[in-house]
């Protein structure tokens, strides 16, 4: 292979470029000598500002007697100081702080401003806009029910999502691969699919033996449509030349479907999975509101019924963290499965 050595050289460079660490790390690696005070100052200064607002500015509104909000700020301050102390010695800590402390500092200051606007100045009407203590206090004091609600939401969401995805992969591959299935299946998909899953609630309540099953069915339905649609389109748009090549390599039909068409459709399938996840969150919250008497969606409307808006916001915060974590998990799975693709969307 001497003749092709010149040709190999630039490729070696490309391949090692591929294995180079991600953008953040590369950034840290070049800047490593420079100490940036804003990185280690952000959290301690932010926490100090918020604490100053909490203790020094007089309150105009009645505040819950608990002290969980200042406790949280103390924890932040302590961790910020600990980080600042470790900052010069550990590159790992430095990397982490460089990426996270600016945003964390801003969030803490924002919490301080929120307290200033609500409890201190009373610019927003109660009970709709409680201060941070009202929210964190009710989150901590009601942690058992919140935890229970989150757990129920998780069970409902994952059961519905996986049932929907499993069915959708079968229907999607079938419709995408077999022309007959396409002819008969596509019209059904086109007519039934766009109906929001929540519109089926009256029917689901009648058909299903209990509300839990009906909620699973609704979430599955919400997931099923986008995943089926995208899977079918991915399978049917598999490049004909991949199939031709595979056939001249001796592939049978199973190989063509499972080792050519499905991998080729994977980018599309993942778009469907993301769309399905979005609609499943929506359906979950609605289903918990109407039938299922548990879960975060139920908790929000229940707390609202009692005008406990602190709990409403607390549940929203949990929900945001919960959905965002699941979304991140799906992105991680996508990055693993689609490593072979270049230029994928970052989360």
């Amino acid at each position: 292979m001497n003749a092709s050595l010149e040709e190999l050289q630039p490729r070696i460079a490309t391949v090692s470029a591929f294995e180079r660490p991600t953008a953040e790390n590369a950034f840290a690696a070049t800047e490593v000598v420079k100490s940036r005070p804003q990185t280690w100052l952000a959290v301690p200064v932010g926490a100090s500002i918020a604490l100053a607002i909490h203790f020094l500015v007089p309150k105009r509104e009645p505040v819950a007697p608990s002290h969980y909000y200042p406790l949280l700020l103390y924890v932040m301050l302590a961790m910020g100081l600990l980080g600042a102390a470790l900052y010069p010695f550990f590159p790992g800590v430095r990397n982490f702080m460089r990426r996270k402390t600016p945003i964390l500092g801003v969030v803490i200051v924002a919490a301080g401003l929120w307290e200033l606007v609500t409890s201190c100045l009373g610019l927003l009407p109660l009970p709709y806009f409680p201060g941070p203590e009202g929210v964190f206090g009710s989150m901590v004091s009601d942690y058992k029910l919140l935890f229970d609600s989150t757990w129920h939401s998780l069970i409902l969401l994952t059961s519905g999502y996986f049932v929907g995805v499993a069915v959708a992969l079968v229907t999607g591959v079938t419709i995408g691969w077999f022309p007959h299935a396409r002819y008969w299946g596509m019209p059904v998909l086109k007519v039934v699919g766009p109906i929001p899953a929540t519109a089926w609630i009256p029917l689901a309540m009648v058909v299903a033996p209990n509300t839990f099953i009906s909620a699973i069915g609704l979430i599955a339905l919400a997931v099923w449509f986008p995943v089926t649609m995208l899977t079918a389109s991915g399978i049917s748009s598999t490049r004909a030349s991949y199939l031709d090549v595979a056939r001249t390599l001796g592939a049978n039909r199973l190989y063509l479907v499972f080792r050519v068409a499905i991998p080729a459709a994977m980018p599309n399938i993942f778009i469907g999975l993301f769309m399905g996840l979005g609609t499943s969150f929506l359906t979950l919250v609605v289903a918990e509101n109407v039938g299922v008497k548990s879960g975060l969606g139920w908790y929000v409307s229940w707390a609202q019924g009692w005008a406990e808006y602190g709990k409403v916001y607390g549940a929203l915060i949990i929900m945001a963290a919960f959905f965002s974590t699941i979304m991140t998990g799906l992105f991680k799975a996508r990055d693993r499965v689609l490593v072979w693709q270049k230029g994928v969307i970052k989360w």
Binding site: E7, L249, P263
Partner: protein
């Protein structure tokens, strides 16, 4: 002529095409309809390397697809050895101009694909390393296709097609997308693979120099409908010198047959 069969068995089979015709129905008035191949007959003996040259639309690629079994012939008979061609098979490998590597598989897994498809990966795993070495890609076993250059990707495609030890290897302008220097190097590599295995090879190309440099015989085709105009044996000793007198004379002859010789710039030379 280098007689590689001195060094080992001939892996290739003979290939017979008898009065093959292909008719495409016009779809919605598109210009692609009509007779693509008109009673094409061709015999390629086992271990022979035959090139097909001709202008666009002369049915070269269609002929290759018929032999691959990807498209059924409208009329005529196609045989590998004495077996009629009815469907695609691992014994007739195909390499396109676009390497068509499976982008979701690494280089190694792409090369393995034929073994996996035939369900013999376990027994023949040793072949994979051998073929990666044969095309010089050991260092890139775990790279994904989008990190490869055109020449390297085409080498993977060749290895992937050859790992099945096809009796006939069909090459549809496999080097057409490469730059001139890479192409000349790859021509030598294909020749090396051919001489090592003595697979019967059918090479479609636009490049007359490539056809002369590589093949035992050159089939010249004419378009609309696709017909064989002439078959020219290349009686030049290998390795061939691209600037030798014999080479250039043959080149002139072929251009003459294809009505490109001595064409004046005023444009009415045909």
């Amino acid at each position: 002529m280098v007689v590689a069969s001195d060094r080992g068995v001939i892996e290739g089979s003979s290939l017979r095409v008898r009065d093959a015709s292909k008719y495409f129905a016009a779809v919605n008035g598109a210009a692609v309809g009509g007779l693509a191949l008109d009673k094409v007959s061709l015999f390629v003996s086992a271990g022979e390397l035959v090139s097909i040259v001709g202008p666009s639309g002369c049915g070269k690629s269609t002929l290759l697809r018929l032999i691959a079994g990807l498209t059924p012939a409208t009329d005529g008979e196609l045989l590998v050895g004495d077996q009629p061609i009815t469907e695609p098979s691992a014994e007739r490998g195909l390499v396109f101009q676009d390497p068509n590597l499976f982008p979701w598989l690494t280089v190694r897994r792409n090369i393995e694909a034929g073994l996996v498809a035939r369900g013999v990966l376990k027994q023949e795993r040793g072949q994979v390393d051998k073929f990666m070495r044969l095309v010089g890609l050991e260092a890139f076993a775990d790279a994904f296709p989008h990190h490869l250059s055109g020449g390297m990707a085409q080498r993977v495609a060749l290895a992937r097609a050859m790992i099945n030890h096809p009796k006939v290897l069909l090459l549809d302008e496999p080097l057409g997308a490469l730059d001139a220097f890479t192409r000349m190097r790859m021509q030598d590599e294909v020749l090396r693979l051919w001489q090592a295995r003595r697979t019967t090879m059918l090479l479609v190309t636009h490049d007359i120099d490539e056809a002369i440099y590589m093949s035992d015989r050159i089939v010249i085709m004419t378009p609309r409908p696709g017909r064989i105009e002439q078959i020219i044996p290349v009686k030049i000793n290998r390795p061939r010198d691209r600037s030798s007198e014999d080479f250039l004379r043959l080149r002139g002859d072929i251009l003459q047959i294809m009505h490109f010789a001595g064409r004046s710039l005023s444009g009415n030379g045909a």
